[in-house]
């Protein structure tokens, strides 16, 4: 029965090819019936991919180990939850899953625009179907999840223990949602080029899609960091690993795009640049999928060495680059700028710098990630770059961004007057300087950490002043209470204030990252009853006493659990456990760390070694010597808090519904008095 899934994939491919042809022919010839057929093909492909994905899940649940994919990622002991998520546990399934998500978004976009943007839709539909057809070709030719083994094994190999973690089940889908959602604005950009309608319509109509993609991508990256933090057991959350880098690349260009489109909307500039950015974002999403799934570059989560896939992906990427560049070249005269930058002290200049920084960071990460491949290709010698390279380039760029986040949103368009600068920046500059000097006085000597907090304080102050000014004006004019005024202010200008909240989240996250400067680490072997102490950078001291070692058997593993009592400054502060798990099916060992979370730091306990693990299980040695690695990770909780604030801010900006179409009364009431022609936020076009 499950073989129906493979049939569904073949039919989906045929349908996608049919739809591609009818979409482009129909769009060119103005044949509405053909375009309609293409749009229905999108729904059809979605249905068929649902069938194929359902069949894969059914094969997992039914323990059908004659399928190579199921046998490779499941076994009888695996819980139902991980069997369902088996759909994206490995390469073959995850490519089907990618196509499924893209089909879902495509169908949504087609449905949403069934009566709007009709001049765009034929080419949008065609572009989406080409990409779907490509993924189906990859799946069917090089990575078929329904491939049978020559015999049926009694049991599967089981799922890699490190993937048996809830973050790992939610991290790949979230990233994939981000990657695939960026395809929609890309398809609209291609359609705008093909149809020649190169005003801001393609941008405004896909604004929510871009934000949605950014929302998923941001959260996907953060979930990946959380997974690495709890599961890899190294006490770190980012390793400049090729696969992590791959997901960061489209995020960098996507974020640049979110900002640069505002310049085009307000000032009619950067038209080529915006097309270029969204194309780059989409291409980098494809590259990220490809890097993750081809294992071309050695990485902690590379999945496979499948060169067929590598060649198909490279061919597809090259074609996309050539076609995209060709389209831009063809339409170059319609993409000329309506205006020019007038002054360094202007919002345009700040946004341009922001864009340069994002793109520079993207190139640095791309270069560092692909360098082993490049060097091997050209010199035959494989040379890697380590984290120092990424840190060296990206930390200064990150600090520059931190400053721009404070400057960009409040500096005047065109040319800032001295008055504008004074009004907006004197207070924040004082705040930043005070924080920097305060840290110096407190004995902090880490330059980057001080700069992060000083610039962060500067940016937070500009945002706080924006909120305060807006709320005060609204409260006065509408006669509302402060809280009501604040809610209305944000609600009526969601894109703007949602954006500010995202900035606040990013500042908090950057501060959390800068906490790395203060990490402390101790490694010690202890007998039961012995203690170790570790001093937190916040001044208090933890004392950890190793109490005992116990062991348990679960369905698919044996656990050795060390219990450690924690005291903070002599007062009892609970227990921590750290485990070593031996998985029966694969005979693999995985560590589970113990983390005591506080608002400002994590106490992170790793069970690094057990003297006589067999003796514990056999009962001959109940009190083994155990080696513990203990870290105090300062400010790590701020990274997650920052991520949460960013998610809330994005949702505020993204939430459907109309915004106030008129300039807000607060600003309309005193445009002359303010002495600066601040353009109002454009009305949000329904997306």
């Amino acid at each position: 029965m499950t073989q129906i899934g493979e049939v569904a994939l073949w039919v989906a491919l045929l349908l996608a090819l049919w739809g591609t042809a009818t979409a482009f022919v129909g769009g060119r010839a103005g044949r509405g019936d053909l375009v309609l057929s293409a749009e229905r093909s999108v729904y059809g492909v979605l249905g068929l991919l649902l069938v194929a994905s359902g069949a894969i899940i059914a094969a997992f649940l039914g323990n059908e180990y004659r399928y190579q994919y199921v046998a490779g990622y499941s076994n009888r002991e695996l819980s139902v939850f991980y069997k369902i998520t088996g759909l994206w546990a490995g390469q073959t399934g995850s490519l089907v899953f990618w196509a499924l998500l893209l089909a879902l978004f495509s169908a949504l976009a087609v449905f949403q625009n069934r009566e709007r943007n009709r001049e765009f839709m034929p080419y949008v539909t065609g572009t989406l179907l080409v990409i779907l057809a490509f993924f189906l070709v990859v799946v069917l030719s090089a990575s078929n999840p329904f491939k049978m083994l020559e015999f049926t094994p009694a049991d599967g190999r089981g799922l890699n223990p490190q993937l048996q973690n809830y973050w790992m089940t939610i991290h790949p889908p979230t990233l994939y949602l981000g990657f695939t959602a960026f395809t929609i604005p890309f398809a609209f950009a291609v359609s705008a080029l093909l149809s020649g309608r190169l005003d801001t319509r393609w941008i405004t109509t896909t604004r929510r899609w871009t934000l949605l993609a950014w929302f998923f991508l941001t959260n996907g990256i953060i979930f990946g960091m959380m997974w690495a933090y709890v599961e890899l057991g190294w006490g770190g959350w980012w390793f400049w690993d090729p696969v992590e880098n791959a997901s960061l690349l489209p995020w960098l260009t996507g974020t640049a795009f979110l900002h640069s489109v505002m310049i085009q909307e307000k000032r009619g500039m950067l038209k080529v640049w915006n097309v270029f950015l969204i194309m780059a974002t989409f291409l980098l999403s494809i590259l990220a999928t490809f890097l993750t799934r081809s294992g071309l570059i050695e990485s902690v989560h590379s999945f496979a060495q499948n060169l067929t896939i590598a060649y198909i992906f490279l061919g597809f990427l090259t074609t996309l680059i050539v076609v995209s560049a060709g389209l831009v070249w063809w339409r170059r005269d319609r993409l000329s700028s309506d205006a020019q930058v007038e002054s360094f002290l202007s919002r345009e200049a700040a946004f341009l710098t922001n864009n340069l920084v994002f793109v520079a960071a993207m190139f640095a990460v791309l270069w560092g990630t692909l360098f082993p491949l490049i060097s091997e290709g050209f010199t035959g010698q494989k040379i890697a770059t380590g984290p120092p390279f990424f840190d060296r380039v990206n930390i200064p760029l990150g600090l520059l961004l931190l400053a721009l986040m404070g400057i960009g949103p409040v500096i005047a368009w065109r040319r800032a007057s001295p008055r504008n600068l004074r009004r907006n920046f004197v207070g924040p500059l004082l705040a930043g300087t005070a924080v920097g000097l305060g840290m110096l006085a407190g004995g902090v000597r880490h330059t980057y950490a001080i700069l992060t907090f000083a610039l962060g304080a500067f940016t937070l102050a500009t945002v706080a002043i924006e909120f305060w000014k807006g709320t005060r004006a609204r409260a006065r004019i509408e006669g509302e209470g402060a809280l009501v005024a604040l809610v209305h202010l944000v609600g009526r200008n969601r894109r703007r204030y949602g954006g500010y909240i995202v900035h606040v989240g990013l500042v908090v996250g950057f501060m959390g990252i800068a906490g790395k400067a203060f990490y402390v680490e101790e490694t010690l072997a202890l007998r039961p009853g012995e203690s170790m102490t570790i001093a937190s950078p916040f001044g208090h001291t933890y004392r950890l006493t190793y109490q005992d070692m116990s062991w348990y058997t679960a369905t698919n593993m044996t656990k050795l659990v060390a219990s450690v009592a924690v005291e903070k400054d002599g007062r009892r502060a609970g227990m921590l456990t750290a485990e070593k798990r031996t998985y029966r099916q694969r005979e693999e060992v995985a560590s589970e760390v113990g983390i005591r979370r506080a608002w400002n730091e994590d106490l992170y306990l790793i069970l690094a070694g057990i003297d006589d693990p067999n003796g514990v299980v056999q009962g001959t040695n109940p009190r083994p010597v155990a080696t513990f690695r203990v870290l105090v990770n300062a400010l790590v909780p701020w990274i997650w808090t920052g991520g949460f604030i960013m998610a809330v801010g994005t949702l505020i900006a993204l939430w459907p519904g109309r915004e106030e179409p008129r300039p807000s009364p607060a600003r309309a009431a005193r445009p002359a008095a303010a002495g600066r022609p601040r353009e109002r936020e454009p009305e949000l076009v329904e997306a």
Partner: protein, 140 residues
């Protein structure tokens, strides 16, 4: 038009700074990948390779692993995966990686000293083959 030139110049300055960070960053963090055979041949030919950071992928020789739980002192021999010839001892100070085992493929990063021992700063168990099911595995 003149003003536009100023902006281009400013952008070029920024690009220049990033380029400088790029080049110095590359110099500081370049790591050469070798197989054990290549490492032994390179160091024999050019003694300066002893001072360069290298990453070596090899196989842990069964029966050579010694790990002291108390001091976290790990010693083992690594052999060339393809040829089975080039072999050298590795010393590492730190907790045993979870998936470390005799006979497993590992990547060690560090320096190959004049004394003929590899002082590793990190030991990574190779994951590439681990995640993907290989058909031969079922036959074993």
């Amino acid at each position: 038009m003149k003003r536009q030139h100023r902006f281009v110049a400013a952008a070029l300055v920024l690009v220049g700074i990033v380029g400088y960070l790029f080049i110095t960053g590359m110099k500081d963090s370049m790591i050469y990948y070798y197989t054990p055979d290549e490492l032994l041949a390179k160091t024999a030919a050019d003694a300066s390779v002893h001072d360069v950071g290298v990453k070596v992928g090899g196989r842990v020789v069964p029966g050579t692993v010694k790990f002291d739980q108390r001091t976290l002192d790990l010693r083992f021999d690594v052999v060339d995966i393809a040829s089975g010839r080039g072999r050298f001892p590795v010393h590492y100070q730190g907790p045993l990686p979870d998936t470390f085992e005799e006979g497993r493929d590992v990547v060690v990063e560090g320096r190959y000293t004049q004394a003929g021992a590899f002082e590793a700063t990190t030991v990574l168990t190779k994951c590439g083959s681990r995640y993907e099911a290989v058909e031969e595995d079922y036959r074993a």
